[in-house]
């Protein structure tokens, strides 16, 4: 057992968890944050992508014992106060999701990509950077459109990605 202290979506949480607990299992089953999905168990599909200290990680191969004291943002923490993050908004406008299962991981990866690369992103760059996130429904076409659209918009419009406590 480890006593794990994390900041999740701006809230401090402390729980005793077995050392072999995966971050995704902790988020889904201990905290009830079921927006983060498990699609493959082996870090190939990206459905479990969350942000860990401002970096996108696939939470199905992160042990909670590795992340003591870290700040985690999940899809639930991306839209504080019910206002959609610009990436979420763009996904809706561009029909960049169908079944929605890969979507939380896809959105977290896209937010990370945009925050790390200033200025408008070329479609080819988006395709190359996100090849570790799989979608079976959309053929990726509209996801690329949505991300390119957000990347080209003035950046100050972006909401903070870590929600404030409350």
């Amino acid at each position: 057992m480890t006593t794990l202290a994390l900041t999740v979506n701006g809230l401090s949480v402390e729980r005793d968890v077995p050392d072999n607990t995966l971050l995704v299992t902790y988020l889904r089953e201990s905290l009830g944050l079921t927006g983060t999905h498990v699609g493959c168990d082996t870090t190939q599909c990206g459905a479990c992508t969350v942000r860990l200290n401002g970096q996108a990680v696939k939470s199905c191969t992160v042990l909670v014992a590795q992340v003591q004291g870290a700040a985690v943002t999940t899809i639930e923490g991306l839209a504080p106060g019910g206002r959609l993050h610009p990436v979420q908004q763009a996904f809706k406008e561009q029909h960049a999701l169908q079944c929605g299962f890969c979507t939380p991981g896809m959105v977290m990866a896209a937010v990370d990509l945009i925050e790390h690369h200033p200025g408008p992103l070329a479609p080819e760059f988006v395709r190359s950077e996100l090849e570790g996130n799989l979608c079976r429904c959309t053929g990726y076409h509209n996801i690329v459109k949505a991300i390119v659209m957000v990347s080209a918009a003035p950046r100050q419009a972006a909401a903070p990605t870590v929600a404030l406590a409350g």
Binding site: T34, G35, L84, E93, L97, C99, R136, G139, V144
Partner: protein, 785 residues
């Protein structure tokens, strides 16, 4: 339908589903947990075929947390029945598939856990239930099974050979369907008189759907009420309820199935899985909820798989390039037991494709093999036959020396021939095939090919352009039900379809809003809980929008009549004096909208049949199929030094009939293309021919369409309305896939044929296969001087 009244229909409205899915509030099966729940993990066969000699669970039962181990013998002792998949398509428009000599089809009983033998790698033969998933997995590892390995067969053609190892002792061999359709004598005569005959034999390989959400089930039996509750995403909760009740041998009224958000389906979820019955049964045994979630490797092994058709097809052509007759022999691999013959049946009805071919004969066979069962997979049966006819037409054009577009143009079904009865009895409803073809050629810049080829060559690449026409059929379960309910400020439609990303909550609301003269925002669609959704056919075969829009239209008609009578009661006039137009009822000097009228529905003085709220329940049965169609064109560039291949352009024209929401239809087309391209270039459920082991156990082994191996798409929607239903809907979910296999392989051939001649490259056309084929030609060529 008066198009002028449409405000929401035809508009690219954003989806109602998206807000919850984008914020992590979706309700997928694994998101549900119940207090005290146990976990189930399956013990799966490592053998393609083996007798179960003995199962020793004692070591597993001694492990911490393990509550129970169940086997096939336990299931048999408790009277659990095999799953009744009803695999033989049975509407009056389906071709009648039979066993040899017209005998009934033997389907092979699909038991939750077999007691006698296992028939494919991955088949569950025992279930371990424990307090945690990890404990259940440890328990499954500790179950000792004594197998006696048996001879096996996995390959489709080999399974049909006399003397092949038999999957079932109930049949003399593995052939469960052998039926012939069409006019044999007329076909033979046409072939005898033909100026040209071209023939092709090919295998459309086995693939799997890979919905991103692994299948899962949470079952709970409540002894106090005698009710079973199953949380399980599927393609139709009503069907699952009926079938799981049948398996358990209980009244369907005791079962509640909940299927809310479903993380992809593509056909894989349209048949009941053994685990769905098992979790309910185990819950009844143990008195606690039991949950199962497949690992991705289990999904690869045991999700219902798709395609796997060996087809040999010949075309007779006269001296002017007119098609005279077609002969086809299709052999479908159903796997270890038969859960659906839809792929074989659907394909059989469309073997003449988009072309006017006066006579045809088709032999349709299906075989068992020691592989996972196959099911209708996205565009069931149609990509296979489209591949066969379109690749054959390309071959014919090359061999006869006619331009491949010109040869198609001479033979396409003409717009003035509809309704067109094809040579095996399918009646195509409507279409403008030649217009589609010409528009696709424009979108794909057919005239610019020579220039693009030269530019690519300057970069060391060989550019090829593929082309394919397609026609497909949408049939599906014929019955659908809708409840249309007027609440205080909203309209609710309860319906028995089951989306997994197709946006029913949006497009059905668009239809309902316009039918009732109300804003789109006030309509809500309820699906997926069988305690609310009492009937319905689920989602498959492109049926949902066509069936839903029709039954909703009929329901709204009934609702208007009911509203008229309610308004008549309010105004104390005869119902005939109440007018209705665009959402408002009018009487002497007054009008009432839907919600104002609904406020009167609680009046205790109302006649009996108007009480209980302003709502109607409407059933509809509609058998007539529709035939979505279109054309596709794509460019590929191949690096002859490496065999590397890149799709550089891809354009389609898709006649979906009435388009309710172009945003959604385009999205369906994109995803459909990706799935078809995936099969052409990367995807295959490969079984090792020496061991019978499936070699794709993870996303590392199975080639998936990814961001960086697909191009942007250019798509146009053609709306040639179908005369078969009120809105003229055809279908938009599968057209993207239907032509994709053919068009990609056509492009690869076009890229290579001038340099190397026709090469025998099978799907998936990987760089290794392309490179090898090129090297073989080079090696066979005389040494350079």
């Amino acid at each position: 339908m008066d198009d002028r009244l449409f405000k929401a229909i035809g508009q690219p409205l954003e989806r109602k589903e998206d807000e919850r899915l984008l914020t992590g509030q979706g309700r997928f099966t694994d998101d549900f947990s119940l207090p005290g729940q146990l976990w189930a993990v399956m013990v799966r066969s490592p053998h393609p075929h083996a007798r179960i000699v003995a199962i020793d669970a004692s070591e597993a039962l001694a492990l911490p947390g393990v509550r129970a181990v169940y086997t096939g013998a336990d299931c048999a002792r408790d009277g659990l029945k095999p799953i009744n998949h009803s695999p033989v398509p049975s509407t009056q428009f389906d071709l009648k598939l039979t066993g040899r000599g017209g005998t009934p089809v033997f389907v092979g009983p699909h038991r939750l856990l077999p007691a006698d033998r296992v028939r494919h790698v991955g088949e569950a033969l025992a279930m371990v239930v424990a307090e945690t998933r990890e404990q259940a997995a440890a328990g499954a590892d500790a179950v000792m099974v004594d197998y006696e390995a048996l001879p096996w067969v996995a390959d489709t053609a080999a399974a049909a050979e006399p003397g092949a190892p038999r999957v079932w002792d109930d049949l003399p061999d593995n052939v469960l369907v052998d039926a012939t359709f069409g006019d044999i004598a007329a076909t033979d005569a046409a072939f005898a008189a033909a100026a040209h005959v071209v023939t092709m034999k090919t295998h459309i390989a086995r693939v799997t759907g890979v919905p991103l959400e692994p299948r899962a089930a949470l079952g709970h039996y409540d002894a106090a009420t005698g009710r079973y509750t199953l949380y399980a995403g599927s393609g139709g909760a009503v069907r699952q309820k009926r079938e799981v009740a049948d398996v358990l041998g209980v009244d369907a009224k005791t079962i509640r199935v909940l299927s809310y958000d479903v993380g992809g389906n593509f056909g894989t979820r349209n048949r009941l899985y053994v685990e769905f019955g098992l979790v309910l049964w185990a819950s009844r045994q143990l008195g606690l909820p039991v949950k199962f979630r497949a690992e991705r490797s289990e999904s690869f092994l045991t999700d219902y798989q798709g395609r796997d058709l060996v087809t040999e097809v010949s075309l007779a052509i006269d001296q002017d390039g007119k098609f005279l007759a077609l002969r086809a022999d299709n052999l479908s691999n159903v796997g270890a037991c038969c859960v659906s013959l839809s792929p074989l049946s659907k394909g059989s009805g469309l073997i003449t494709g988009s072309y006017d071919i006066p006579v045809a004969t088709l032999r349709a066979r299906a075989v068992f093999s020691n592989t996972m069962c196959t099911q209708a997979y996205r565009s069931s049966g149609r990509p296979e036959v489209t591949f066969a006819i379109e690749r054959l037409v390309d071959k014919a054009a090359r061999e006869i020396g006619i331009d491949r577009i010109e040869l198609r143009r001479r033979n396409l079904v003409r717009a003035d021939q509809f309704p067109y009865l094809n040579a095996v009895g399918s009646s195509y409803d409507s279409g403008e095939y030649e217009i589609n073809m010409d528009r696709a050629l424009q979108l794909g810049d057919w005239p610019g090919i020579a220039q693009r080829r030269a530019e690519a060559l300057a970069r060391g690449k060989l550019l090829g352009v593929g082309f394919a026409n397609y026609v497909e059929s949408s049939i599906g379960t014929p019955k659908e039900r809708a409840d249309v309910i007027v609440h205080a400020r909203t309209i609710e439609v309860v319906i028995g379809t089951q989306p997994s990303g197709q946006g029913h909550e949006t497009s059905f609301a668009q239809v309902t809003a316009d039918l009732m003269g109300l804003p789109f925002d006030c309509v809500f669609i309820t699906i997926g809980d069988t305690d609310i959704v009492s009937a319905g056919g689920g989602t498959h075969s492109g049926r949902s929008l066509r069936h839903a829009s029709t039954v909703i239209a009929l329901g709204v008609q009934d609702l208007i009549e009911k509203g008229r009578r309610l308004a008549a009661h309010v105004w104390r006039v005869a119902a005939a004096e109440v007018g209705y137009e665009a959402g408002r009822f009018s009487g002497p000097g007054a009008t009432l909208g839907w919600f104002e009228l609904a406020a009167h529905a609680g009046d205790p003085t109302l006649p009996e049949d108007l009480r209980g709220g302003l709502k109607v329940r409407r059933d509809n049965e509609m058998h007539t199929p529709v035939f979505p169609n279109g054309a596709c064109i794509c460019d590929v560039e191949i690096d002859p030094e490496t065999g590397g291949i890149e799709i550089t352009r891809y354009a389609t024209v898709d006649d979906v009939g009435r388009c309710i929401n172009p945003l959604i239809v385009h999205g369906q087309t994109h995803g459909g293309i990706a799935q078809g391209v995936g099969q052409a270039l990367w995807e295959q459920c490969f079984v090792d021919p020496h061991s019978g082991q499936p070699l794709m156990g993870s996303l590392m082994d199975y080639g998936m369409p990814r961001f960086d191996n697909l191009p942007a798409f250019t798509n146009e929607i053609a709306e040639v309305l179908s005369p078969t239903n009120p809105f003229g809907v055809k279908a938009g979910g599968e057209g993207g896939t239907t032509g994709a296999l053919a068009v990609v392989m056509s492009a690869i051939e076009d890229a290579l044929v001038n340099e190397y001649g026709p090469l025998d490259i099978s799907m998936p056309a990987t760089p290794a296969k392309i490179w090898t084929a090129i090297q073989q030609v080079k090696a066979a060529a005389p040494a350079a001087a």
